[in-house]
Amino acid sequence: MFENHFLSLITFFPLLAVVILLFFPSKEEKGIKVFGIVFSLIHFLISLKLLLNFDYSVYKLQFVERTSWIVSNFLNSQYFIGIDGISLFIVLLTTFLMPIIFLSTYSGITKKVKSFYIHMFLLEVGILGSLVALDLFLFYVFWEVMLIPMYFIIGVWGGERRIYAAIKFFIYTMAGSLLMLLGIMYIYKTTGTFDVTKIYSYHFSLNEQIYLFIAFAIAFAIKVPIFPFHTWLPDAHTEAPTAGSVILAGVLLKLGTYGYLRFAMPMFPDAMVKFAPYVIVLAIIGIIYGALVAMVQKDIKKLVAYSSVSHLGYVMLGLFALTVYGMQGGILQMINHGISTGALFLLVGVVYERKHTRLISEYGGIAKVMPVYATFFMIVTLSSIGLPLTNGFVGEFSILLGTFKSSWQHAWVYTAFAASGVILGAVYMLWMYQRVFFNTEPSEENKKLTDLTKREIAYLVPLVIMIFWIGLYPNFFFKRMQKSVDYYLNMFKAKQVVTVIDNEGGKK
């Protein structure tokens, strides 16, 4: 039965958890937590089959399912899902992070445990659905449904200003989405279909493309977030519980960049070429601005949040370089960011649970007290900076190489500025590390801090393994993206009317 509907099974599997959780008594907190961990682990193991059965020798959409969903005179939408090399790893990242998050919430979430788990599972359905949907209407439904659980996660389990942050997050994202909705309607009006693969082969006029691209780009820019649309992110991150932050940074932001790759770029290639310089400049501003603002943060979590803005700038830069290296680096960097920043948020959550403060000034010298913790933190910090042997290096290097080889005018200027972000990244991360872990003798209060428990080590180890795996053997991932990236770039090139982008990166 599930052979033909394997992807649907993966997508809606968490709903089963929701149904089961509804029958749990609310007082059974321990049982609920264990159930969440076990269930998400099973989900992850099942989803590995996607990786094993993924055919990367040739580009095609895989695990495709198509049935008609809404049939009427004025709206025809299909239930059309499938994955390719672009979405594969983000799907896997989602299922990979979930058990880790649940392990971390074992001690982090104390109130209303049951509904928290329900919301997390619902959120996962929304995320997975958005990633696999190949029908614009279906995509939009998942894309918006995702907001509701996230809004509750921030608003109910968050910190002091959680309500403000939750509403800001919701309204910001909704504003972009609604613009995109108008764009989707217009596309349906002109092409008569929501099917993404059909829309790829349709040529919009340049004028249409420009407006549509703006509509889509703003929606995704808010999600990513690209400077200047990033203001909701620090608030949301600061207020969200650790689990919320991890899923937000790890996966939710990637949906924005994924949206560019899957929808905005292939559908509106000419507009994309027109706007690319501006987007690239915004991305670079984001890289540098995010790094500079991160530098002066007093709160560790806010620092990590701003580093997200900086890192996502790299991803955007890589995608918009329109070269094979850049795009692959961009996709890989999405995964890296999910792993490294997710790990950083988890680590911040660890000390926050012990001390209930995230101010850097409250710490200092705790490497003495928490040596294991300090080691983990160091590894993740270095990965975030992009030290060779870690995943960050591979991603950033590919992106910068791709940007340098791109056929944009003054590509080397872009590269130079973007590369300065790498240095700034090292500055803020290491400086923060120094102030938290060294500098002074630990205060009396901090001497009482306990080191990592077995449970905490258990959920950090997989992340560290991933960091080194991608860092040492990125080919495993590149191989699986290769065909998809080539396909998209070729399609892009074939659809170009205004300018021709040379795929190999030679100048025109």
């Binding site: 969903w69 809404i70 049939v71 009427s72 005179n73 004025f74 709206l75 209303k112 939009y140 439904v141 998942f142 894309w143 918006e144 449904v145 907001l147 509701i148 809004y151 509750f152 608003g155 109910v156 959680r162 309500i163 939750a166 509403i167 919701f170 309204i171 909704m174 504003a175 609604l178 613009l179 909705l181 108008l182 309607m185 217009y186 349906y188 009006k189």
Partner: protein, 478 residues
């Protein structure tokens, strides 16, 4: 002259008239039977519903005309009648759960409500301006009475008075419009008006007066002033009813008058509706933004929803009409749900609800919290609910007709509305220090709300069933 009366054609109105008589006399019968007045009143509505549902399959391509359009059945009218009746039954259920059994004089209330519903049916199932006016009055006058049902409460009386005075003026406008149009064409039948060549200013004047009169009833800006007060003063089940049925019928009558009688003056009325729709959406949403009372917020939000419906009128296409009809069906489910949830929050007969009263209710009454959240998200137009699909249809019909400005304003309105709808959810789930208020929820109302919520989500995911009906109904109009 020998007129034979076709009783079959007049059946729905006769049934309801019978119902009014029966319920009026039930008050003087013994005390025991009083308790069943709601059930008995609903039976009459069900009988009507049965009549229309039986009639619908026969009318896919033809219509039934009686006395030159005095009574006129076609798929479009029947669709609306069914909506009105379902809305009536649902509000009766809410009323049963809402009113205090001891103090409340049941039968009269239902008799008055039946009169209103009968008026709405008269208004819908006709092609004749005079009959529309008769229906309008038969709807409005009992409604004034039901709004003022808590006659010892100041807000109730105040709201009813505003409603009564403004409503009467609106009726006057409407009647004057009919008179002018009759003067210009010598006919009050919608189809005949279209055939007559119109060139003179009288026509435009008549149309203007008709639009003003209907605008009042549909609570379109700038004729919306009575809405918040009347909605707040009325008992909540009455508010639920009047926010759906009369509004829906008013909008549809506007559609009928414009599309059937004045299609050739599209250029003229398009501009007017364009401005009115934009004003309505903005005023409704901005007004709702600053309210403290949840009921007033919902009243303003219902103004905004009228605005979205008016927008679809400008589309002037089958798609636009079917979008309106679909939206109305969805709106029925959601609004019964939203006002029904409010009607549960009463202590004694004090049904004043502020946002603050909602603190922590989501945890205290989990089911209630989930239901109200579903309705709020649906009103805000979040996908996977019927509210989203309805809005999608409306905006899409505008995009197809290249009315981008309207679509953008509508989107902007939706965005504003997210804030105040979410505020309800925020207070229920995210604010500390819950109010110490204990409610006794009526089981009847709760089960109706569950049905509504399931409908909202089910039709939000699989809207075909309603959509097919709506398209079938809208094809006969143009």
């Amino acid at each position: 002259m020998n007129i034979t009366i076709n009783y079959y054609m007049l059946m729905p109105f006769l049934i309801l008239t019978g119902g009014i008589i029966v319920l009026s006399f039930m008050g003087v019968l013994n005390e025991k039977i009083k308790h069943y007045s709601g059930v008995i009143a609903s039976l009459f509505l069900f009988a009507d519903l049965y009549y229309f549902v039986k009639l619908l399959p026969q009318l896919t391509y033809r219509s039934l005309d009686y006395m030159n359009g005095m009574v006129f059945y076609n798929a479009f009218n029947i669709y609306l009648s069914i909506l009105v009746l379902v809305c009536g039954i649902a509000s009766f259920v809410l009323a049963e759960g809402f009113f205090n059994k001891e103090e409340f004089k049941h039968p009269e209330f239902y008799a008055i409500a039946l009169a209103t519903i009968c008026g709405l049916l008269v208004m819908v199932n006709t092609n004749n301006l005079i009959n529309i006016f008769v229906g309008l009055e038969l709807t409005s006058i009992p409604l004034y009475a039901t709004v003022a049902y808590f006659r010892y409460k100041e807000p109730s009386v105040e709201g009813a008075l505003k409603y009564f005075i403004l409503g009467s003026i609106a009726s006057g406008f409407f009647l004057f419009g009919i008179a002018v149009i009759y003067g210009a064409t010598g006919s009050v039948v919608l189809k005949d008006i279209m055939i007559v060549k119109k060139g003179d200013e009288l026509f435009k004047l008549g149309l203007l007066f008709l639009m003003v009169g209907i605008g009042f009833k549909a609570s379109a800006a700038p004729f919306h002033m009575w809405t918040p007060d009347a909605y707040e003063g009325a008992p909540t089940p009455v508010t639920a009813f009047m926010s759906i049925a009369p509004k829906a019928v008013a909008i549809v009558i506007l559609v009928k008058i414009l599309y059937i009688a004045f299609p050739d003056m599209f250029i003229l009325w398009e501009k007017a509706i364009f401005v009115i729709a934009i004003l309505t959406v903005l005023i409704g949403n901005l007004g709702a933004l600053v309210q403290n009372s949840v009921k007033r917020m919902l009243a303003y939000s219902s103004i905004a929803h009228a605005g979205y419906l008016l927008m679809a009128i400008v589309a002037f296409s089958i798609e636009g009409i079917s979008a309106i009809l679909f939206y109305l069906a969805g709106y029925l489910l959601i609004n019964i749900g939203a006002f029904g949830s409010l009607s549960l929050l009463k202590i004694g007969d004090n049904d004043y609800v502020e946002y603050n009263h909602l603190r922590g209710l989501g945890y205290k009454y989990p089911l209630f919290g989930v239901l109200l959240s579903v309705f709020m998200f649906s009103l805000a137009g979040i996908p996977a609910t019927i509210g989203f699909v309805g809005k999608f249809y409306i905006f899409k019909s505008l995009i197809v007709k290249e009315q981008y400005i309207l679509a953008l304003i509508g989107i902007l309105g939706s965005l504003i509305s997210v804030y105040y709808y979410l505020k309800v959810v925020v207070f229920m789930y995210m604010k500390e220090n819950p109010e110490e208020r204990n409610f006794e929820f009526s089981f009847l109302t709760l089960s109706l709300l569950v049905v509504c919520a399931v409908g909202v989500i089910y039709f939000g995911l699989f809207p075909q069933a309603i959509n097919k009906l709506a398209i079938l109904a809208s094809k006969v109009l143009i």
